[in-house]
Symmetry: C2
């Protein structure tokens, strides 16, 4: 796949995982790509925890189900009906979970480029996540980012010490296909916007109907 | 370039910009790649402001210079000496600035996947930034993320309304080369860590010497 094919074929996968093994060299290339991301002050403030254990994954899945209900209870009836059809995680069906954390102490105290923007370290972690996601796509794997969880619950489950923060649980593994259309669009939850709606020249321009 | 070539050749560029024009179809492909990033609840909570105006760029550069001095004043003498040699921005030398902002109201109130993690929207914006960075690399352009600024200053400069947050000023443009080694490593500020130092199996494992 060419670079742009990878970018545009990448999808958030939930229902497509086959559970087949990931060859260790493939997983290594994907994690190496993540680790090659840029980071503020070259702090590389991420850690990657590869979770295979069934017990851990079931415990996390149960927590995610509970948080799914919390969100569902906030919705109006039309949204609730749509949401009921939407799968939000593939924790058990995927081959591994990759939990990505942020360590604010890495490279501290003088992290070059972070004195004015405390969140810059967190931003770096997300750049690594996108590298991982694209590399997995290039390898024919699916990735699904699960965000229906409380950070403290995930921190305790994986012995992640303070002040580290879990940033993502990524479901990773072979898929039977990568869907053409995002699940949320297919289910009528929300449609993608045209680029021109978010593009501005020189200054931010307020637009109606957004 | 293959996908992995793009990932591993990407660099944070500051001193390498030539100021040559970016063909409009190239910039469009790069921004289209950014806009193809995944986002929590398909909220696509980003905006891209392309800044070419010299007056705006000078004003921002002056602010960044002032913030550079703020950071320099925090350093011990050894670090201060190293830091004095490090270029932190290519605002005027690059062809355009692309300012990326986060709009927490996009798709609100019920953003699917954000109820438990308020920062999830901000994370999405960073995924778009990494797509932009890699696409620019694939096009032979350099990108330099400037983070020596106060959000309120940049917000006022570009008329970005509350509650939007500027997330990055990206210097983008043709470069005479992409360095092999990150600037901060070349200057002895900090070295990249091996992947195995940040890789864990099943649970987070505390390690010494980090």
């Amino acid at each position: 796949m060419s670079f742009y094919d990878v970018v545009h074929r990448r999808r958030d996968t939930r229902g497509e995982f086959t559970g087949a093994p990931i060859p260790s060299d493939v997983l290594r290339r994907v994690l190496t790509a993540a680790h090659a991301a840029p980071s503020v002050g070259l702090s590389q403030p991420w850690d990657f925890i590869v979770v295979r254990d069934e017990h851990t994954r079931r415990a996390f899945r149960d927590h995610v189900n509970a948080e799914r209900s919390v969100f569902a209870a906030e919705l109006d009836p039309r949204q609730a009906e749509l949401f009921a059809k939407i799968k939000v995680e593939g924790i058990l069906e995927s081959t591994v979970g990759v939990v990505v954390t942020y360590d604010p102490d890495r490279g501290s105290p003088a992290v070059l480029g972070r004195h004015a923007i405390a969140d810059a370290g967190l931003y770096s972690v997300c750049l690594a996540i996108q590298n991982l996601w694209l590399a997995a796509t290039a390898e024919g794997l699916g990735v699904g980012w699960v965000s229906f969880y409380r950070e403290d619950v995930l921190r305790r489950l994986l012995d992640v010490p303070q002040p580290l923060r879990p940033v993502a649980w990524l479901c990773v593994g072979p898929v039977d296909r990568l869907p053409e259309t995002p699940d949320l669009e297919r289910h009528g939850w929300r449609n993608r916007m045209p680029l021109d709606d978010v593009l501005h020249e020189e200054r931010y321009t307020r637009r109606s109907g957004r």
